[in-house]
Every structure is written in C-alpha cells, then in structure tokens.
Symmetry: C2
Subunit: 279 residues, 2 copies
Amino acid sequence: MSGNTPRSSPTIAVFDSGFVGLTVLRALLPLIPGAHYVYLGDTARLPYGAKSPQTVARYALSSAAFLLAQGAEMLVVACNTASALALDELQHALPIPVIGVIEPGVQAAASLLLPTPYSLLPASVLVLATAATVQSGAYSRACSALGIVAYEKACPLLVPLVEEGWTDHPVTAEVLRIYLTEALEAAPTVTTLVLGCTHYPLIKPLIERTLTALNHPMHIVDSASATAHAAAALLPASTSTTEPTCTFYATDSIEKFQRLGSAFLGQPLPAVHLIDLGG
Amino acid sequence: MSGNTPRSSPTIAVFDSGFVGLTVLRALLPLIPGAHYVYLGDTARLPYGAKSPQTVARYALSSAAFLLAQGAEMLVVACNTASALALDELQHALPIPVIGVIEPGVQAAASLLLPTPYSLLPASVLVLATAATVQSGAYSRACSALGIVAYEKACPLLVPLVEEGWTDHPVTAEVLRIYLTEALEAAPTVTTLVLGCTHYPLIKPLIERTLTALNHPMHIVDSASATAHAAAALLPASTSTTEPTCTFYATDSIEKFQRLGSAFLGQPLPAVHLIDLGG
C-alpha cells in the first residue's frame, strides 16, 4: 500500500482479466456509494491462470497504467491470479493504494477459525484455486503471516465448468467430489474453505452439497465480499447521497462482456468501451 | 494461397496458440524430410478459442510476421481457431503459401463418405470443435464447398479436460456422452466425425469407446495428418537425405512448453526460445 488516502467519493478502479471480477464491484457499490467506478476486463489476454508470473505482471501493469490515466485513486485487483502474481509490482509501481483479493479473503477465514488452545495442531484452512494461484504460493504466505497453515488445491476444471454454465450439473458435482476428496485426504481436520477464484462463488451451493455428502461441512469464505470491506475500510465513512457511477472497459469481445457480465454484476451493464492495450 | 512454390528443402513455419500444434509438426517430419522447421507457440495470448475474430487475426498476423522474418517459405496454421478466423487475412498478407487445418480435414472426411446415389439426403459430417471455431462457420463453409452438410458441435470442456490429463477418465467419458448424444440427436445419420481441434486426437480412443456405447460407430478424421499431406502435396517430391531440423519459439512459459510439448511431438524438445510479440 502506498500514496495518499483517497477522498470519500473517489474514482475507484477495479481490474480483472475478464468480467467475473464484476462480483467484487457488485460488493463495492453498496459499501462505497457516491464513488465513480472504472472497471477494466483484460479479455483479449485472459485467462491469466496458466501464464507465467512475468507475463501476468506485464499484463497487470499495462492495465493499471490505463486505469491510472482514467483518474483512478484506488485500485482493486479483482483477480486471484493477478493478486497472487503481480500485487507487489503493482503496489511498487503505482502512487495509489492497491488492494488484492487474497489477504482480505485470508483475514475473513482467520476470523472464522475457532481458537484451539488445547490442540497441538496449528489452525488451518483449505484454499481452492487455479493452478497458477496455487503455484504462486500467495495463499500460503498470506496464511503463514497469520500463523495459519494453508492447504491449497488446484482445481483447473472449475472455471471451464462455470463458463459452460454447468453450475448445477452432475459432471460438476463429480469433479468437485474428486477435487474435495483429494483435498480432504491431505487436510482431514480443516473446517474453513476459502474460494480462491472469483468464478467459484457461482458453484458455492454445489460445493456446500458436496461437502455435506462427504460428511465434511465447512465454513465457506467468498473473498469478493471480504475485499470490498477491506477497500471501504481505507476510506473515510461516506456521507455521499449520490448514486455511484460506473464506466466499463474491455480489451476484447465487448458484446460478450456486456451480455454475460450482467449476471455477475447483478444488474444490466451500460455500454462497454473497447480499448487496445497492445498485444 | 499466394506466392511462389517453395523449394524441396524449404523453411516451413508451423504456428499454433500453444504446443498442441506440435501434433501437426510431428506429422510433417516424415513427409517433408530435409526441411528446416520453425515452430511458434503464442502461449502468452492463448487460448484463441474464446476471443473475437479481430483479436485472433491480430495475434495471428503478428505471429506470422515473426515467422516470415525467420525465413519461412510456407506457413502451416496448426490451430483450428486461427484457421477458422484468420486464414483469409494471413493468405492476403503473406507472400508465401499458407495452409490451415480446416480444408484438409474436410477433404479427408469427404473422401471417406460413401456415395449415396439413392438417398435424398446430402452427405453430412459431424464436427467437434471449440465455441469460437463453431461460431466462425468455417467448417460449414468448407463442407458446403464440397456439397456436404456440416453438423457442428461446440465442446468447450474437452480442451480443459485434456489439459488436466484426464484423457482416459470417467468424467471425460461422461462429458463426451453428453456432447455426442446432443450432437447425434441433431445429426442421427452421420457416419463421419471430424476432430476440429488439435487437442482432440488425445481422446480419440475415448471418443471411439463412447460412440460404440451409443451404438453409433463412426469414421474419425484427425486433421493433423490430413494437413501434413496437404502441405507435402504443394512441394516437389523430396530427394533430401538429411535429417529435418527444428527451432522452437514461444511467447510465454518455455519450461512448460518444453516439458509438456514432447508428448505431442513424440520426441524430446530441444531448447525453446522465448520471444516477445508485444502484449
């Protein structure tokens, strides 16, 4: 975190590789009313989940430079992969506060953990995420800073299944059964699950049903809400009575962005502007 | 197709968004020995399958410009999406022959169709492909030019399942059962199936087993081999006795490219060179 504290009605930039980060914007709107929001989906270069740290950092920095030029006074990185691989670079490069989704999610999980004074085992959480997020070790580091052990499980099929629309489908249930069984073999005592990817809240009901079927119910933390609260905590309490305004940019497929994005934002999207960040 | 006929030992460029197009290079090596091959995987910007025609064409043109600068005398586009969305632009922009995977695959399928002189129905094929390839209508146009009807089925989960390594897995079998059942409801009389994505040959045995279980065995056409034969047909018969040489380039993740690519090439890969095409 660097730079000055923004005003109570600032321009807040929200960045993701696609439109799924709109769930974070959706959580921000009621918490920071009166702000102007600038959302960028880097759809021409998505997904970030399978790319190298160097490439993800390069994409995130060029996206952030565009948002800064739009007057952003705070940047919310609504993408787990970019938060995992590029948050340090962004915080060093930008003169404004930069918030990722990982630390708020881990702090929300920590607040749910029961004290275990008589246990020899450290408190632990299970994190489901993309392969790149797991490989980055970002959740392990964030948990370790709070004295928590993170069991991370890479779930590469969940994003494609959500994008296929199979959010309540027997195949997705079977894939979840396989992933969660493997994860619980490694972490049989965990009671808290962090959804370490912005796509996963759409299958939260199916995850809950799968855990019940496995006789292993857990607290489930959705980091979109936790991230929005962390952003709001950086600002003075809002006294604005005006409605928030939003401007949307994408680097590809603005029609698809507008059509599919409204489900994640929870309201219709206005015009989406196509921009070229090169590449 | 444009430009001069290449020599019998030309520099042949092979281009894909990733390393799966190595299956096409693998098919080329024994057919055009003595050539020098330059392979480019645009891994920093993959996958192309969900992007707009304009963006895919932009990526393909910048990749082709790099390959031309390496001395390419023929370009083989070993990627169904780029073949579907950018072949015309590439053929217009480049002074060398450009071959895609779609027309050779369709021609191989046409050669397998039985003559149906007493049928009122036109001959037809079933094509499994990515969403972007299906939306482009490229297979329908290529089939229509030969008087064949193409039934196209978008199968967005198959690439992630192959990349998860679940090429012989009950979940993949169930996804195939769902996709093929839906496809055969629309096209109950087809007897020939075109694998319209370079990932799909890795699940060809599972596709065959699924079709048998559905009581609907079919001829299956793998366009990698058909494309290699189409490229060889453009060249004079080779008299070279030297071994082919290969140089590999990628725009991201050269370590992953080298590690996973050898399964698709069928032999170990030498050093892979990292290049930056911008973006």
